[in-house]
Structures are given as C-alpha cells and as structure tokens.
Symmetry: C2
Subunit: 249 residues, 2 copies
C-alpha cells in the first residue's frame, strides 16, 4: 500500500483565503502534520490524526510526514501562507533527497496558497505593482552577510522589497540593520509599510517612510514592504505604478 | 449613493484555486470589468453586467470601473492570478491618483489571489524555497535596460528568479536576451523551469538547465523560473534548500 503526501498552505489566516483545492485535500487526509498554530486553523474531522510540532524542527517534521505516507497513510503537511515560500515544501524535498529512496515513489503533490506578501500588499493597495523581491531576514539558515548583499542588490536595482520574518525575540536588531543597508542606497522618502496579521480579521497597517521607519514596530506576525523609487501614496493607499518613470496617461 | 470597487484575481485558472473571499465578492457584484478571458472564468449570474475589454487598455478599463462605481454600482475588476502582481490593481490606483478626486471617497478594496509563480512552483516542487524575485520581461512600460540591470543584480545576489510575461508575438527575442544576461553570471548547470498553464488542467512542465534553455519554448502562458546556485533536482522535483550552502541535517 502506497500512501500520499500533499504539502499545502492555509493562506494568511482568514478561512476565506484558503483555496478550495487545499480545503479538499485537508478533507481527505488521514493525518495532518504541521506547526501547532497552523493546524489550529483546520477544523477537526472525525478519525483524522493530528501531529503538531514546534516551529524549529522542519526537517524532523518532514521526515515524520514521509514515514507516515510510506506506511500507507494519506498525509497533509500544513504550512501557513503558500507552502513554497519560506515554508514547509522545501524542507520536505530536502528530506526526500537525503532520506529513504523509496520516498521518491510516493504520490507527492504541492498545493499553492496565498502567501503573506500578497495579503499584505492587498491591505494597502498595490505596492508590489512593479518588479519585486522577497527576502527572509532570518539568519538561522543563511549568513547575515548574504542577507545584506541581497538587500543592497535589490535596492540598487530598484526592486520593491518584501521582508519576511523581519524580527523575532532571538533577533531583535536585524530589521534595524536591514533598514540601515537600504538607507545607504534608497531615498529616505521611500514608502515603508508594516503590515501586521495581513489577511486576518486583526490586520493592521502602518505606513511610513524609510527615513522614519522604526524597526521595533515589527514582530513575528509583521510583513514589511519597502517601496521602489516610483512607489507612491494616494489617499490611504500605496501603490507602485507599472511604468518605471511614474504615472502617465 | 456611493458605489464600491473591489479588485480581485481569479488565481491561475482552475476554479479550485480561486479563494472563497474572491468568489463571494464576485457573487455580490452588479458589474464585472476585465480582460475577456479572465471574465470568462466567472460563471454568469442573472442581472450582472459584464464589461469585457482588450488586454492593452488597463488605464481605460480602470477609469471605466471607477466611473461605474462613482455612479453607485458595485463593481469588481477581474484580473488573473493575484491582482497586485503585474495585473490591474496598480492601474486602478494610478487612475485614482490622476482622476476625479471624488474617486478617493469610494469604498475600494483589493482581494489577494494565487499568483502564477506560486502555481508554477507548486507544479515542480519548491523552487522558490529561498529568497526570490519576480521580474516582468514586458518592456511596454519600462526600458529593456532596466530589465537587464535587474536580471544582472538578481543573478549576482543569487536570488531565484521568476520571469513573468517572458515572451509574446511582439517580443519574441527578449527571453533569449534575458538568458544571455543570466548566463554571464550564473552557472550553466542552474536549473531552469518552463511551466506552461500552471494551476490549470493543462499544466505542462519542462525542466532544463540555463546552458540548454531554449527561449522559443516559452509563450504568453508560460512562467519561467531560473534557480539560485543552490537549486537542486531530486527525482522529478526541483527545489531550493532553505540553507544557503545546500542541504544539511
């Protein structure tokens, strides 16, 4: 008996932002594996087993899910947002590459979802309207030097920049350092958005400038968007025009 | 009487990838405005008016939608994918900034959706597992020099690169030029993915390398993903490990 493994994302938080495809996958699973708070977004179903784990053990969690699937279970690995963006999908494929060769014969699938930066952008208008990049500020898995190099390159090439994992208790100073790197290249007038709990009922937006941005505003539930040179404010909205030289009729 | 305007994305194509939030907004609209093929994804409803337009008239379409909303209608502007990523949301805010000041008082909202690169990534594994950027290769609204500068910066800083609008009949040679820019920086062994019609029933994936990539494979429905230095193949899957120095237990 060969089991299956589907890696899904619940979206940013509101049930209405989870896709019907992901909902259908969750309904058919025998086992759900994931970080506790993401599993809590899934309504309980009779006979379905839940395997909640801590946030820092992605590879162990991936191996556990693969072992269950190899034993014939229909397993769903539950991420927040989109499973392929700073979430569980990469950890599962890493576990497959390093693990039992039989795991490659499993029925494995990834279901896309709404990632945090899209929900954050929608709360404030269309700040991602031009070319953009997404950088995780967590240095658990890469060096801070690499992060600084990417921030500088993205600023110099005038990308809009979405910052995932901008701050945590273990890393309170990194966002301030990131702003310093960006200030060395970008204008102080560049719009900066702190969007907390985007795509949930508690969403909260703070719009400021790079010169005035206070890194201590961000926490683990915040997504930070730093505009390009063309990013503009209109009323309560922020957007990046599609043209590189601002608006035009 | 004040109308409303909501800008939504239908997701990549399959109805099961449209969010319930967007579905609910579409059900309540009096008027739908959008590019014909995206409107065709929305089932007809009694009494709901449809205003289909060509793909090249975003600003006119945005003004039309705003004028309808200002006359008291409940208007939904329909994009594919996510409305904030190379789609209609930026055009609407541009039209607001340049248009009737009364438009700023309208009830305006953006609903996020699943953008093409997330659906494309899910078809092949987790290629966006590290820091990544999204670049539109269309030079309708920006210069080719800007596009080349961004490609080079993204390659040098080792981002995974998602290329939107890689080719059209009017621009058949640009993707080949983009690959040349990337080859000047990245290894020829870098995985390159051509994902056509991602997130639809006709999805088709071609996995190759930067050295072997043939730009003529791409058309308007193709999303191209160029890996980072760490992006790897495992079986039929491609993923980018979360660590910058490859896999590790």
């Amino acid at each position: 008996m060969i089991g299956s493994l589907v890696i899904v994302g619940t979206g940013p938080g509101k049930p209405e932002l989870m896709t019907p495809a992901t909902e259908a996958v969750l309904a058919k699973a025998t086992d759900l594996v994931g970080y506790g708070p993401y599993l809590d977004r899934v309504p309980p179903r009779n006979g379905q087993r839940r395997h909640a784990s801590d946030n820092r053990v992605e590879l162990d969690r991936a191996r556990h899910a693969l072992t269950l699937a190899a034993s014939g279970r229909d397993v769903v690995v539950v991420s927040g947002g989109d499973p392929g963006v700073f979430a569980m999908a990469a950890a599962v494929f890493e576990a497959i590459e390093m693990g039992d060769p039989a795991w490659q014969a499993l029925d494995i699938r990834v279901e896309p979802g709404v990632t945090a930066m899209l929900a954050a952008a929608a709360e404030v208008g269309a700040p991602l309207g031009g070319d953009f990049c997404a950088i995780s500020l967590s240095d658990n898995l890469k060096s801070w030097a690499t992060i600084e190099r990417r921030l500088k390159a993205a600023a110099e090439a005038d990308f809009v920049i979405a910052l995932y994992n901008p701050a945590s208790k273990a890393r309170p100073h990194q966002l301030a350092q990131a702003f310093d790197v960006l200030r060395s290249v970008k204008s102080g007038a560049t719009p900066v958005l702190f969007v907390r709990a985007a795509g949930t009922a508690e969403a909260k937006v703070l719009t400021t400038t790079l010169a005035a941005a206070d890194a201590s505003v961000a926490d683990m539930r915040t997504l930070v968007i730093v505009g390009a040179s063309t990013t503009r404010t209109v009323g309560r909205w922020v957007y990046t025009p599609r043209r590189e030289h601002g608006t035009a009729s």
